[in-house]
Symmetry: C2
Subunit: 309 residues, 2 copies
């Protein structure tokens, strides 16, 4: 083995940047052409090599786009202006009675696994599952995501946090595991969406409402979703999209699925990713907020004449 394996890469190739940022190769190239950013080096073969600092900045831009800013503006800004924008918090969405998020963030920051695990579990027991999901977990995930985009947290802390959260949900759900209930809802994500936390949160909310959930895990192709829904006699299919998923792809995927799914089976979609979808999709129920899930469920029940037990 050659000992001169230099690790500090001069930059990441375009495919890695696509994977890291979620921005397509086409988008990266067209941004460079139109806005003059990013400005990757080239390797001996003329292929782009993105400096790590620029990848960080792309992540920051992506995050700000998710908050509603437009690419054209963001890409014209310099570092300082970008930083200023990033630090302007949208607003302290301190709902009254909400738990002190800063305390939680401190636990994440110090990666104190045991304390975090206990605290999460205690909070769930204290507030109840629904309140825990809406008032604690959802804001916390947002905060962790923001902190990560500001480089205040590393991937390590984010992963650790996710693992503990997942453990809490799995523990609770393992002891609830319903054998029946209605409607029967199939939970999954489309190919390319690998985040399962949204599915676990939705499963938790549904289980306490006496819904029978079928958790399929992430990344199911469309025709398999259709087959699964029929074989499991699902009344509805519920998809989850994270903010990383391209809204256009999500909309197209749901149109594809709606077309192949029997009309009797409802199609719901939740997660941060659907907030970016403005246009309603025919025959699809979009659930940008948790509350919408309850409304949607209630509507289904009234239409099908079934009441919760």
């Amino acid at each position: 083995m050659s000992s001169e394996t230099v690790f500090p890469v001069r930059g990441l190739p375009i495919a890695s940047v696509e994977r890291e940022t979620g921005l397509s190769k086409d988008t990266l190239r067209v941004w460079e052409r139109r806005y003059g950013f990013p400005t990757p080096e080239r390797d001996a073969n003329g292929e782009r090599l993105y400096a790590p600092a620029q990848v960080q900045r792309l992540l920051q831009i992506k995050r700000l786009m998710d908050r509603g800013h437009r690419p054209g503006k963001l890409l014209a800004l310099d570092d300082a202006a970008l930083q200023a924008l990033d630090e302007s918090r949208p607003e302290a969405s301190g709902r009254p009675g909400a738990p002190p998020l800063d305390t939680w963030m401190q636990l994440v920051r110090t990666h104190d696994s045991d304390a975090l695990q206990r605290a999460l579990y205690r909070e769930m027991v204290k507030r109840g599952l629904a309140g825990f999901v809406q008032d604690t977990v959802a804001p916390l995930i947002a905060r962790v995501g923001e902190a990560w985009s500001r480089n205040e947290l590393g991937i390590f802390e984010e992963h650790l946090f996710s693992q503990h959260l997942e453990k809490v949900f799995r523990t609770v759900l393992a002891n609830l595991s319903p054998q029946q209930g209605s409607p029967r809802v199939l939970l999954t994500t489309l190919s390319g969406e690998e985040h399962t936390m949204g599915l676990l949160m939705v499963e938790a909310l549904l289980v306490v409402e006496d819904v029978y959930p079928v958790l399929l895990g992430p990344q199911t192709p469309i025709d398999e979703i259709v087959r699964a829904a029929q074989l499991k006699q699902a009344d509805a299919v519920c998809l989850s999209f994270s903010s990383a998923y391209s809204p256009a792809l999500a909309a197209q995927g749901m149109r594809d699925l709606r077309q192949m799914l029997p009309a009797g089976i409802a199609l719901w979609a939740g997660g941060y990713g659907v907030k970016a979808i403005r246009k309603p999709i025919d025959g699809v129920c979009l659930l940008p907020e948790f509350q919408d899930l309850y409304d949607c469920l209630a509507r289904w029940r009234s239409e099908h004449g079934r009441q919760p037990a």
Copy 2:
């Protein structure tokens, strides 16, 4: 919703085909150019529209490629030859004394969730965790993978199986959760490897050996693995590779990680993916079989003078 669901799916756009098949847009275009397949229609705007039947065939080709066939051959074949190839079994690998795998496969095939869940849990209790992992779970995963590649099982059944397996492991591990133990082992995968089942199996094996595992979830960048190992004071980092991960990439990744990781922290690697790595890597302990994990652990303990409790 209209009952006369017309099915004029003239075809899926290229982005949908990419999502469904996992073949990149570039690959789809270059196949069309080189091999004359697929042959998408064009919409009014000149954009490709793939017929559903061709998408199915692309999936079949993809499966055969995973079995080792080369695209150039497959794309030249007609439907019949492709089907014949698809149905040719590699061989039935039946170890004597193993549990009746066919019975298990039947449960997976019929997607009887409740029965499968109960059966898995019962088997774990009956055989013990280590025996369950080695003699039941590992062969079953292999069988399911094979069956999928022969198109006898769909993604749906595979996902459902994974979910139930994961549930069993999480349930068991939740009630074991150690607060101490030695060595301290960090469990994760490199970017691009998204399979977590291997990590859960290793965690299960380690926990009963009084090891303190830190589960980090999949896809951690190398510098974050290093940071995590230091902050969590890990004695070892254990990576998992599925067979889908390119052996060359895996080897390179481990060399990179070994270089950045303090010498005092061991590096282990398990999973089907390491079986394909022939050359030993300096300072890395390759564990192609489960037994190797025990050997490796015993060696670490003797070298560090610590015995299991």
